[in-house]
Assembly symmetry: C2
DNA sequence: CCAATACATTGAACTAGGACAAGAAATAAA
DNA sequence: TTTATTTCTTGTCCTAGTTCAATGTATTGG
């Protein structure tokens, strides 16, 4: 049951069975149906969720009412708005919503603190997770600025080969920062190579 | 001498005098003249630098040879390419270069490890720094995708009011992801409000 | 099973911003 | 100071991507 998440958390820092037992005892399992909004704009994000199964999106709504998807999270990824909410004590500006029926392991601020106090090595593991998120976001920023829409889409396909079969195309367009119509045109052009 | 950085590191986690003494003893002070490249693409980034004085930029070079500035760091900010280099053990894809004569306090991977082993609470402080960087980068990604060039420039002025006096205008354009010429046109338009 | 809704495609007209070029200002260097 | 180099501005033309609208195609749900 815990093997997926234990592999994930142990990827950059190794833990003994005792530490993993503490970790596993503090997480909460949660099954959530699709199209459930886990975090609304204006709320505090009080969870950090590991996706066991399913697909989630995190998005803003911009000044013109358009959704801009910041992140997709599928199996074995973490999703939260920790960067804004938990430590800054600001209400979040993003939504987090399930796209498919999902299963999660979740931490809340209290269980996470308890984890750190009982097994401080996890502090390091979460720091490294944070670094990885930063690296991914920075890469994404670079692509957004310096690649054409077609290049972005090709890069997306390489990075998330399974997603086009799982999520609506206009979500992908929103993630890439282009209009749904233009993505459609890119795809037809690519099809007749 | 250490008050700037001690205020910075103690902003989200408080440290006692002993812990700060360890911290201060492990950093290396470094003065660097302007236009010095601290990190070249393809190298490993082996430092984390706190800017005491001066201004630094971090940038990629894209497929067409254009520089894209990812970050400016001025007084009291941290700069590194930690996200890619240190833990991922990959060579960096970015350059880090001083724009003005600079003074830094620097950690390298060894002194940072020594810090964490002598005073583990710093692990948490660095995790929170990382979260803040992630928050800033995410905000920047959102702006890049969903604001017009003019809006981005106004937002930039609010966020970094002192920078236009300190760095070349085409650097700001590069940071905003627009051409230098277009930024110039935006500015003339704004001048005749 | 049909109706309703959400999703995808295509085309035509439009626009924000880019590329290029050439000159003006400012900084630096000598 | 004079010259050289870098930076900034302005204009013209051009294109990647948007917007809007119409049509078609899947999904969903009652």
């Amino acid at each position: 049951m815990h093997s997926q998440i234990n592999t994930n958390i142990g990827r950059y820092v190794s833990f003994d069975t005792n530490e993993l037992a503490i970790f596993n005892s503090l997480m909460e399992f949660k099954a959530v149906p699709k199209k459930t909004i886990l975090l609304h704009e204006g709320e505090m994000c009080n969870f950090e969720a590991f996706v066991i199964k399913g697909c989630v999106r995190k998005y803003y709504i911009d000044a013109n009412g358009f959704e801009v998807i910041l992140q997709f999270a599928i199996e074995n990824a973490w999703i939260s708005d920790i960067s804004f909410s938990i430590y800054e004590k600001n209400p979040s500006r993003v939504y987090i919503e399930t796209i498919e029926d999902c299963e999660f392991f979740m931490f809340n601020p209290e269980t996470k603190e308890e984890l750190f106090s009982k097994a401080p090595k996890f502090e390091r593991a979460f720091r490294i997770l944070m670094q990885r998120s930063l690296a991914v976001t920075q890469e994404r920023l670079f692509n957004t600025i310096s690649k054409t829409a077609t290049e972005k889409y090709i890069e997306f396909l390489e990075h998330y080969p399974a997603l086009p079969q799982r999520v609506a195309q206009h979500y992908i367009a929103s993630y890439l920062g282009i209009s749904a119509e233009f993505l459609s045109k890119i795809r037809t052009k690519m099809a007749k190579h």
